[in-house]
Structures are given as C-alpha cells and as structure tokens.
Symmetry: D2
Subunit: 350 residues, 4 copies
C-alpha cells in the first residue's frame, strides 16, 4: 500500500501517518520529493483497514497493491486446482462440458435434454428448478418438484447435476439433490447466499455478476472459500456494456485474467452471453481456444416451447456441430474432453 501525500501536506501530517501506520505494526517508508512525499507501507496492511488513511489530513490518495483474495489467489497457491463434481473433474488438463435446459419443465423434457447434452459431449447436466427472473410475472421454476426430476434423470443417465440456488433458506434442500450448486449472476454479491453455499458441502459454480469486475468476482469466491469450501468453479457469462447487439458482452479476456490471478477453474457460458442460437457455437469455440476449462450450454428439445431463454438453446444439428468443435479443439489446447460418466456407474445419492 502506498500513501500519496498532497502537495500542501505538512511535516506534521506526514509524521502523523507514519505514527499511525507503525502503531498498527506495519512498516512505513517515507520518500520525499521536490513537490510531494510518498509513504510506502509494507507488512500486514489489513491491520490498517479501519484507519481510513484516505480521510486523514494531508493525504491525497491511497493505492493498494497486494492481492486481497488470500484463499482463492494464485499468489500463495500457484498450481491450478481441479474441482470434482460427482466424480467429474473440472481443471487445467480437461475440457468439461455442462449442458441442459435453462429450466426444468417435465421429466420427459429434462430426459430428452440430457440425451442431447450427452450427444453434445457433456459430462454434467444443468437445469434450473429455482429461476431468478427479472419480472415477477415470468416463469419462476418448479422448485422442489424440479429437483426431484433432476435426481430422476441423473439416476437414469448417470450424469451429475448442476442446479441454481437463489435463497440461503433453500440451500440445504437444493444441496440434498444437487451435485453442484450454481450461484447466478444476480446473486454474485448476495453475501448471505455465498456464506450458505460455503457451508453446504457441495462444489459451487459461481457465475460472474453482469457488472462485476474480475476483482469483485474473486472476492465473492473468497466469501465461499472463507467458509471452508474451496471447490469453486468460476463461470464467465457476459457483462453489461453499451452494446445492445448481443444480450451481454462476453468478456473473453476474463478467462486468462482470472486464471492468472486465481487457482480456481474458469469456464464460460456462451449461451447467456450471446443470447441468440447462432452465436453460441462461435462463442463456445472462442472460449475453448482462449483456454477455458469448460463451457456450459443451453440445450432444449423444443426451444420454441421453452419456458425460459428458448432463443439461445441449441437444437438438433447444432449439437453435432458443437460436439465436433469440442472434440477437435480439446487436443489442440492440450486437454482431454471429459467423458460422460457411463450409465450405471456409482452415483452420489441425494
């Protein structure tokens, strides 16, 4: 941390900062120039968190330097992590596809979607039972009935299940059925929810807030980690910008940036970024080529009747095209495409 003194700061102002810093057990180094003085701080600057250096007399600016995300940062944990979901790895050596319908509607629809997901090369099944919707008049999901459908389809297909949790009160319920808990983009800074999933004993898929910086995203992961759960997978899904040609602007650079700053796996959701079917496959290819550890895509047996986000779900011919792209790009990127768990393999039971 560096404290930049204002040009008009007095010697007393500087001394007062140095005293304050040293009192907190942090080293202070004063650099005096012609027009300005700089105080460099080295040590455990968290001890100064409540000191409000920026408000002190004579201080112009305070510049933070070291990474504030202790547990998820790569600084103290250089090797990239592998997170296992119902036995399926997500990490630096594999390419893992998660696919399924945006919302679980019926057993038949979910089962058909799971078959499509498998055909697309997916090892994990996604599907929403609790749906956070911008409008109170939009479809809100089946709730626990949806979870039961997901468990049934898992039993049938052997695919571990990823599903969203939207309320701390229902985390335990959802964790009883799911193999991985998804925290959605609107909940990335729902800190009560982050703490609840941190204690739930299941891996977490943390979507980036649509207006969150990479820094805030890692800080949200830190909330989960702080409760003892380091099985976190980060998911870039597009950010909000001035551009309206796409539903969101996929921030493809966030993948290498987050991978350099954190040891956690990073995947991409090209369906919610593009928002239109014809953009999903190009964006999925970009995600694989940039170095993502996986992708999550929407599939639906009948998108025109989907209760949620039908416009972006892949259908018949797309599935084949996606599956070919994933097969070709995996070895190019030095990764193995994670294989679907064969039916009948031992499953985690709800």
């Amino acid at each position: 941390m560096v404290v930049v003194m204002a040009p008009e700061a007095t010697q007393q102002d500087i001394d007062s900062i140095v005293d304050l810093v040293r009192a907190a057990g942090v080293d202070a180094f004063v650099s005096r120039g012609l027009t300005r003085t700089i105080v460099g701080l080295v040590g455990d600057v968290h001890a100064l968190a409540t000191a409000n250096l920026r408000s002190r007399k004579g201080v112009q600016d305070v510049v933070r330097i070291s990474e504030p995300h202790k547990l998820v940062s790569r600084e103290h944990h250089p090797a990239r992590s592998v997170v296992r979901v119902g036995g399926v790895p997500i990490g630096p050596d594999t390419l893992t596809v998660i696919a399924g319908p945006c919302a679980v509607e019926t057993v038949e629809q979910t089962l058909e979607a799971a078959v499509m997901a498998r055909a697309a090369g997916a090892a994990l099944l996604r599907g929403g039972a609790f749906k956070p919707r911008t409008s109170p008049y939009a479809y809100q999901g089946l709730g626990e009935a949806g979870l039961r459908i997901l468990a049934e389809v898992r039993a049938e297909t052997g695919m571990p299940v990823v599903t969203e949790v939207i309320d701390p009160a229902s985390v335990e319920l959802v964790a009883g059925y799911a193999d991985m808990l998804q925290v959605g983009t609107r909940n990335m800074q729902n800190f009560a929810l982050l703490q609840a999933v941190g204690s739930a004993g299941k891996p977490v898929l943390l979507k980036r807030g649509f207006a969150a910086t990479v820094d805030e995203w890692l800080m949200a992961a830190e909330y989960i980690a702080q409760r003892g759960n380091l099985d976190i997978v980060l998911c870039e899904r597009g950010i909000r910008t001035f551009e309206t040609a796409t539903r969101n602007t996929l921030d493809i650079s966030a993948v290498p940036v987050a991978q350099r700053r954190s040891h956690l796996p990073v995947i991409v959701d090209p369906s919610h970024s593009g928002g239109r079917r014809e953009l999903v496959i190009p964006l999925a290819r970009a995600a694989l080529a940039v170095g993502a550890d996986g992708v999550m895509i929407d599939v639906h047996p009948a998108p025109e009747r989907a209760l949620c986000d039908g416009a972006q779900a892949l259908v018949g011919e797309d599935i084949r095209e996606f599956s070919i792209a994933a097969s070709i790009l995996s070895p190019v990127m030095g990764r193995t495409l994670t294989q679907p768990v064969p039916k009948g393999s031992p499953l985690p039971v709800p």
Copy 2:
C-alpha cells in the same frame, strides 16, 4: 407488442404466428409491405409470455411496447404517491432528508450522528446494522446489537429509523426494530429478499442496482408491490460506468425518468454516488433541483475513525452548508422541507 417477420418469411409462417397469438386471446393485425410483414399485437400479451415468439420460424424481431410494471407504473395510477415512515411523509409536496452514519458502531457515535442529522435538516435517521461488504474481511456490522442501538437513539431523538436488511431470514428481526427497511444496491435483484420485504409490513427504501436499468429497478419494485406492499421509495445512488473519477456515476436523469414512469417517490443518495466528501453537497443540490423527493446522506462525528465509508461522510461545517442549501432549494422547487419529528412525540414501538 409488434412481431417483425423476416424478409424470407412465408405466408405459412405468418399464419402460424397469427394463429398462435389469437389462440392466446390476443388480437393480431397483419401489415404487409413490399419486402416485409409486420404483425401488431393488441390485448393481454402476458398470455403469450411462454410462446417464445422470437424463436418461431420466420420471425426476425419482437418489440415490446406497453409498460410491464402494472402496480408501480404511473400508467394506471397517475397521481404520485406519498409514503409515510413513522409519520414522516416522502412524496411530491415535501423534501425529506434522511441522514446518519453508514454503519452503527456505538450508542454514542449513533447519537452524535443523529444530532448532526437533525442539524442537517433530516427527519429520518439512517444507520447500518447489517452491512453487505465486497470483501469478507471488511467490517460486517453489529447485527442485532446495532438494531438495539438504533431503537435507543430513536427513543432519545424521536427520529424514525431506516436500516438495511440483507437476508430474507433476518427480515422479521429487522422489521421488529426499523421504521423503514432498506434494500441495498447489490440486493436489488435478490428476489427472495424483495418478496420477504414485500410481506414485512414496513415501508421499503429500494436502492437502484449499480448496473440496473430504470426498467429493472421498477421491476424489482414490482416484486415488492406484488406481495401487497406499495409503500416503496426508490433511491438513485449512482451507476457503474467507465468513469473512475467518482465512485459511481450519479444518474441524475433517472429521477425525472422514474417519476414519469412510476407513481412512487424517488430520492437520491449523493454520498455513495460521489464517494468523496467534497462532491456530496454539489450533488445533493443537483438532486434537489432536478426534482427529487428527498436525499439520503452519510454523516459521521469522526469520519477518520469510521468503520465504513468515512471518506464520504459530511462533518461539522458541511452540515450547515447542506442545511442552508436544502432550506433555500425546497421553496424554489415548490416543496416543504419535512420537519424533524419533535422529541417526545408518539413513536412506533419495536
């Protein structure tokens, strides 16, 4: 709602849309041009919400027209509403100031801040007991002990209390102490929380999400209203843009825009927008002059020791300057500055 057909759409595509729309009990009007056909929809288009018109064969675009916020919209409720908080009105004829410390720390600090708030012209006291913080290592608030301090200071000063609620599970607890429940910017789309405050029987201060459109903000209010609670005050507090010179970019235009689209009162938080003390008073003046129904400001007896956001809290001389500005601008805007409730007046009891 208007369905724009693609140039290559066939007669069958058009007929199929018209059939679908009419089957839902909505009128369809077909306008055929040289290169393109347009289908205008009139009636209760919510019945079509699940039909995914956009995914249908031959459809290029679907353009929505009517206001989707039935309860908070001004379309069916042209008169602007007055919301009363512990007897204090917020609405079109008054100018109401809410002030207090960002975080409640001790009885003394809160009481001193309340005295400052009153001096600033505030009729309502704000103060955070539960604090949503970006970092898990930042100060998280006193919790229920903070609520007790607020109730004590209310008893002492007669000022009704506004405080934040961050988790559906603690809404009942907070509602037991507070006169108004605040939903913070990071929770604007925490739908479980919105529904909980909608049922809590207390007025709600709904801050705009830092990356929410006015449309989404009103939709969040609609979530609360749908539970039967129309005592909602909207609070603009700055949005996230590319500009880094201020903490957030105060979207001053959102005040008249929201007031034209909704009957709910709209106030402004200049402290969190600017993020720096010297910007608070100019921005507060702008808020009053643009036509806001009130402002909410941070005050703190000793900002340099504040556990949260000290850099933006007003202090001694600022209070006087703010209070003069509010007194002068109220009559200019045709409003009465809401008077602090006198000490000893009948108070809502927790």
Copy 3:
C-alpha cells in the same frame, strides 16, 4: 510515480530500475518490505515517458500520481478562469446561457430561434452549419451558407455566435464567421482538429467525448492549450452507459470534478444528454445547482419540422419555464445571469 516491484524481483532488477530513473534526472527512493519493494519517483517523470518501466524485468505495476495536464490543470493555476466570447463572460461569477437551433436551416428559422434564445435568457447564440452525423444519409448542414446566416442573425440581434467545426481544413473558414468554435463529442480526440482550433485565435467550446474520462477530456483541452489558446470552455453533454432510458447519461458529477482539477469554465448541455424535451428543464436546473458556469440548450421555432434533433428542442412554454429557473437559481448559486448583449452594441466582425 511509483514503481511496484514483483515479489520475485531480484536486487539486480531493482538496481536496474533505479539506474534508469536516475539517468533520466529523476529521484528514486527505494522502500524495501518483507515481501515486496517499492520505488518512489519524484521529479520530472515526463523524461521517463519512453522508458516503458512497466515492461522492465521485475516490475509488477507503475502508478502515476501527478496531474499530466500542465496548462489546463488547477494545480499551477488555482484561480478559476473567465473566458470571454464576443465580450460575453463565462466563468465562476456568472451564469451564461447559450441557446439556438441544433442546425441552421434558414434565416427566418435562425432568427426566430435567436429571439427564443434571448427570451430564454441566452447571451450567446448556437447553431450548426457543419453537422457531424452518424449516418451519411442524414442531414449534413448548410456549410458556409449556414455561417453566413449566423453572421446575419448576429448583426440583427447582437448575439455572439457559437458554431461547430468538424474538419481542420475548414477551421479558418469557420473562425472567420464565428465568435466561438465548438468541437463536438465525436471529435474530442480528433487531435488534428484540436491543434487547428488551438491556432485559430478564437475561444473554443470543447464537448466531452461520449466515452471519454474526465482525464482524457482535460488532455484534449491540453492539446488546444499547447497551441497557445487557453480560451477553452468545457461542456459536459452526457456519456454512454448501459442505460437506454435517456439518449446519454448526464454525468452531473463531472462538473465539480472538472472544476476542481482544471481552472477552465465548465458548462452543461442538458438537451443532448436527455434527448427528450421533458427532461431538458429538470437537467438544466440540476446543472445550475451543481455549480455549472452555464448551460447550452436547443431551441427551435418548429421542432416537428427540425432537420436535426427536434425531439429535444425547447418550445414556447418551456422557454418561459427555463428562463424563470435560470433567474431564480443564479442568485442562489451566487452568480449573475449574464445579460444578452443589447442589439446595436459593437460586434466582432467576420
């Protein structure tokens, strides 16, 4: 400037930075901590501009501190400047209104608009003869014929004229007619144009780029100043954000921010920010109350027939409302509303 060394930087890396810095005549102060070293730089760091410190071995980050805008910065010129346009002052003690039609169409329309401008309290007349338009198929302005109309209306009304210049090649032509040269939002970083207006011998109205930071805006002003022209007025006109409810998001905070960092006058254009008639007056009031040195508004005798931006032009009843607001808010802000130059007063001749 502060150079932050990476944790793995060697002593040799540090020495090499220090040597490089000192070779450029700048002082270097090394602060060594437990895990990291910081090098503080004091002196004329511009001498280091080409050294690419950020690319050097062992360097993690370089943080800039002092203001890079020497001529327009308030650091070395604390008193706020007054710019005179055809005798009309724009500065800290006055409130100056600029009004007129977006585009000059005919003598009659311009004259009628000038009469409306005067009625609104305007001392300066604006009007576009050269129009930068997003589409090549939109109206591009009358060119020199429009400049002649402006000069004619100035002769008739005594109002000095502000008009836009869009090409370095026509700066001399426009400067021959105008009292103030306007550089539009899309040209804020058209450096050839900035240099040309810097040498044209006329005051300049520099609109902020719709996606420019305050820092870049001041840097654009510095380009003009560097050519010897310090008669620059900054104009905030809204920035581009995710919000689509308004044409642009008026960054009202930019006014006090720019006034604190630069000695140049700062005015606001509420017409282009809001983009809709009903927002212009509320935003103009906000601009005056935040402390702007003036406002620039669109007026048009027949907005429904305007060739450009008719939707935001004020008409009959608005003019009176605006003029009352300006009269009332000027003394509140400790300013004198600049009076229109009386007809027949000595004018600058083209």
Copy 4:
C-alpha cells in the same frame, strides 16, 4: 418502421401521421387495439427522415426495422467479400495475419520487426508513422520520414504495408506510400477523414471506435463506401467498459455479429484489446476460433525501448507460439493461412 401511438392519441393524431407518411410515398398500415394503435410503415422510409415522427402529437415511440447500411449490409449482398491489399487477400477462405511495430522508429527497428512479423506468419506489415496520442506530450510519430521507412522495408521484404492516417489533409500523402490506410479507433466517427479515405483509391482498415456500437461501426464503413470505396476491412479492437483488468474489453461476439450483418471481412486486434503481452496469444486464438478473417498484432524487437505500447508487443518466444497457433487453427476453421508474399515478387510502387 413502426409508429407506436400513445394511449391518449386521438383519431386526428393518427390520421395526421398516416397522411404525412403517405405524402412521402410510404405505405401506412393502421392496427387498432383496445388501448393503443400502431402504424406500420413499409416502403422507402428514408423519405421520412426529416419528418420527425417522434415529435408529432400523439406519438409515443418510433421503432426502426430495416438495415440502414445499404452498401455494406449483407442484406443486398449475401456473399462475403474478399479485400486484396497489395495482392494479399483478406476474406472468408483465408486467415491473414498483419503484424509490425506500433510505431515506426528507425529503418533497423522496422526491418527487424518485419522479419519477426514474417516469422509470425504475417503477410502484411503494419507500422505507425502518424500516431494519435491521448496526451500532446506523448510520442507523435515520424510522419513522412516514417512512411519512407515503411516503403523501404516493403521493398526489402515484399510485404505490403498498412499504416494509419489521422488527418484528411495527409490522406493523399499517406496513400502515396501505403497499400492499406488504417483509420484508428478515435477517428471512427471523424467523418471528414472517412470521406477522404473513401476517395483515396486504397483499401481501408476501419477500427471500431472504443465506444461505438456495431451499428455505428457499419455506418462509419458506409461513409467510406458511399464515396465509392468498398475495399474495407473491419477491425474489432476492444471496447470501453467498467472492467479495468484489461486495457479494453475485447468484444469477441462483434466478429460473428458484424459478419452476419455486413459482407465486409472482419479481423481482430488482440494486442490493443488486452494491452498486456501475456493476453495477446490467448485472445488471438479466441479470435481465430470465433471465425475472424485475420488478426493484427504488435511485434517489436526491443519492447522495453519501444516509443509506444511496448507492454503489449510480442517478442522472441511468443512469435513461435503465435505462429504455431495460427497454423493449427487455420485448417480447423476451414481456412488457408495467407502466405507472405515472397521477397522479390512484383510490388505495388508508391
């Protein structure tokens, strides 16, 4: 185009719109509903451009439908175009790499950079002689001396040359040396410059404005096309968002979006998007995989001494890595990597 009438619009208001539209030779279709009426317009709506429908009495909104970019749109020109630069194709069947130093400094540096560019697989050499810089105190380029160096290096290496033009007045000069004229991000809406390059008889590389929508980008291309020059290549280089972890946010989705809406080739500049060396290769891979027709990268023999953007230039080992990635991904994408023109081949002469 669709005109949405307000609920309170009278029959007279509607008739008046219909008359106005028909008078302009455009068909009007009225759709009357319970609460609202919609007027669909079919025909040459440009004839209505000056009618300001939005300002008419009773009108609530006007929604545009058909593509406004006639010449560059794919609607009337479905086959994707190939643009040839000094004989080198850029288009749908090839993958073309453009590489070189950000700024031309000396013959030796440019020649060394050209050798690196070739090693990276580049068929075209880029290099800036005229540099648009945010600060007037930053390096501004060698001007014509730089153009002469580029011509010399072209003679030596056989690589056609792409260089930036920043002022309409120097377009002819630059076109005398260059094989392709680059219009930079800050000049994307410098309409005088667009018109000048439209008449210069050389292919144009049009970078996207850092805050321009895809729509505005295509409109800027339309300005060039309207002057008779359809040899335009679009270049995505990152947009400005709230995220500060990268210099700009590469809008990777803009590639498929622009390719679907326009027949022009679209390439990507990963160097300016990421702004840091370690991001360039991942982003270049993403660009190739998303379907870009080429990439443009910065290389520099000694980035630590570069006068401009050294932090993002590729060096020794990176070149090999990039070249391998381009070789592997070209066939995956069904494209041929454009081969460098062999030395001694017939060259375009300045």
